[in-house]
Symmetry: C2
Subunit: 319 residues, 2 copies
């Protein structure tokens, strides 16, 4: 195969070749995993050193409905699926970000990301901290909110700040990952349009999704990778018109500038490079961390600060 990085800037010690796997998934878990592995191998053979998959990439996005049967999709970590991906990471000598429905016990389930290092070891896991629950996205039914906090995962290619989907709307999550040393923010995602929304609303949602993630790169002076699936998936409960997953997997640099972006419909391996030295220079011209008012941020741990007649002791501003 031709080198997918050959038309990009010369490789230097400071750039990291990466690949994002944007794909449509089906009801057949075995077929999804085979497609994942085939794409990962192709990406690695193309030169990628970091490969990122989208959220819950071994199944349909099953959270469209409440269905006890879906708990059968959950797996322990480590388990059969992480073993399979670990073997590929080792064979291909890459760092691999995967995502799965974690069965921690028969009482506790999470929406988790597993990072596999190039020696096949589990570098670390992240359990999704912010859990949505909205029409078509019934995640609170399936997933207990994460309890591992916002801890970057150290790998042979750097510290990855892995967050998952709904986390992307929370500047707090990106900030905490960065304060804890993340060098790259990584968001496996499954987000789509409601076909019943008009085009203008769909465009606003897509742009908002991109904009807020770019802002995390800017606020924190780090590059960011976001990987979404594509394809239409029916809502079997028929309560919504289903989800048209909007792809648009993308990578931005530490100023929020686009480095690569996929379209909204195609199975794609998106190859690009991240400059790991850029953030040092960007943080010099924009030294935002220097001036954070940590003395005045205690209200961020409160639910709501507005002073009203119904305020109680937990929602009252303590400043």
């Amino acid at each position: 195969m031709t080198n997918p990085y050959s038309d990009r800037e010369n490789t230097s010690g400071s750039t990291l070749p990466i690949a994002l796997i944007q794909q449509q998934y089906s009801q057949e878990q075995g077929k999804n995993i085979a497609a994942n592995i085939s794409a990962i191998r192709k990406a690695a053979q193309g030169g990628a050193k970091l490969v990122v998959l989208s959220e819950l990439h071994t199944s349909l996005y099953f959270c469209q409905t409440h269905n006890y049967d879906n708990f059968e999709l959950a797996e322990p970590i480590p388990g059969k699926t992480t073993d399979a991906f670990a073997a590929v990471a080792k064979q291909e000598n890459i760092v691999l970000v995967t995502s799965l429905f974690e069965r921690r016990s028969t009482a506790i389930y999470h929406n988790s990301a597993v990072v596999l290092d190039c020696d096949g070891s589990i570098a670390g896991i992240y359990r999704k901290m912010h859990i949505p629950d909205d029409p078509g996205y019934h995640e609170k039914f399936y997933f207990t909110p994460g309890d591992l906090g916002f801890e970057p995962i150290a790998t042979s290619i750097g510290k990855l700040g892995v967050l998952i989907c709904w986390d992307q709307w929370y500047p707090e999550a990106a900030r905490l990952m960065t304060l804890a040393g993340a060098e790259i923010l990584v968001y496996p995602t499954a987000i789509g349009w409601d076909p019943d929304d008009d085009k203008a609303e769909q465009q606003r949602q897509l742009e908002a999704w991109i904009t807020i993630q770019r802002s995390h790169a800017i606020a924190n002076g780090v590059p960011l990778i976001s990987v979404n699936r594509v394809g239409f998936e029916k809502d079997l409960s028929k309560k919504t018109a289903g989800a048209q997953f909007w792809g648009n997997s993308f990578v931005v640099g530490a100023q929020g500038e686009f480095i690569a972006r996929a379209n909204n419909s195609d199975n794609t391996i998106l190859y690009t490079k991240i400059d790991l030295q850029q953030n040092k220079q960007v943080r010099q011209i924009w030294p935002f961390m220097r001036d954070r008012r940590v003395d005045a941020y205690s209200g961020l741990t409160q639910r709501w600060l507005e002073k009203t007649i119904t305020s109680n002791s937990t929602s009252t501003d303590k400043r």
Copy 2:
């Protein structure tokens, strides 16, 4: 004059006609104030109910240099300048967001915003919390960081979350203002290009500035107004090539969508309307506040959380 709102959607009880005053300023304070007042009157007579000026709109952006003489520009609040703007706010029956170099005493100076209500009273003041200090922006020399926290200012048209320039890079500031009840975020600003930077870098900076502010609207489900000056101002110390203030004053809705945007060079009164009901609907489809992990955010009050050999008790992660 023709009605500047006539080509916009019909006025309803829920839309607020606003105007942003984007202008170039000169060394003559009297002339700047006269230009401000003339533009405010025109905006009000055009129907605006909320008028917002840019940062430090009565002078050149004097922070390009360290110069003791510039402290003569500072004024008390209330004072001659706030009195003049208060009289205009009352006469024109508008809410007016102004900005000035505050002399709190001969020992303490701030970069402050003063909000004047339509009865001519001071609705409230905000003292810039995050103070930059970079080539061409020597604000730490002039301004003590604000000590009033992130408190919205209640006015006859709603609660304004007024923040100033450098604050715009901090998601924490926008979040705290919103948690405390702000219905609109408002950013008087003075930001420009270094003429020595190439066009690509200038474009990245402008886009980052817009992107991060749009993200605050999205994260918090509130509309946002940002007002910048235009024009080139020399660096009298000759340490930099001066500042080409980039204008681009803009307004976005609660999904971060553009409602209005000025260009990068012209003196402009930017008329538009804000839908004060939109945020209720947007917050229903995107209930981000519901799912904040306030139990896991305590690290936000820390300077840095990375575990290193040099960590000490104040920078160690306490989770």
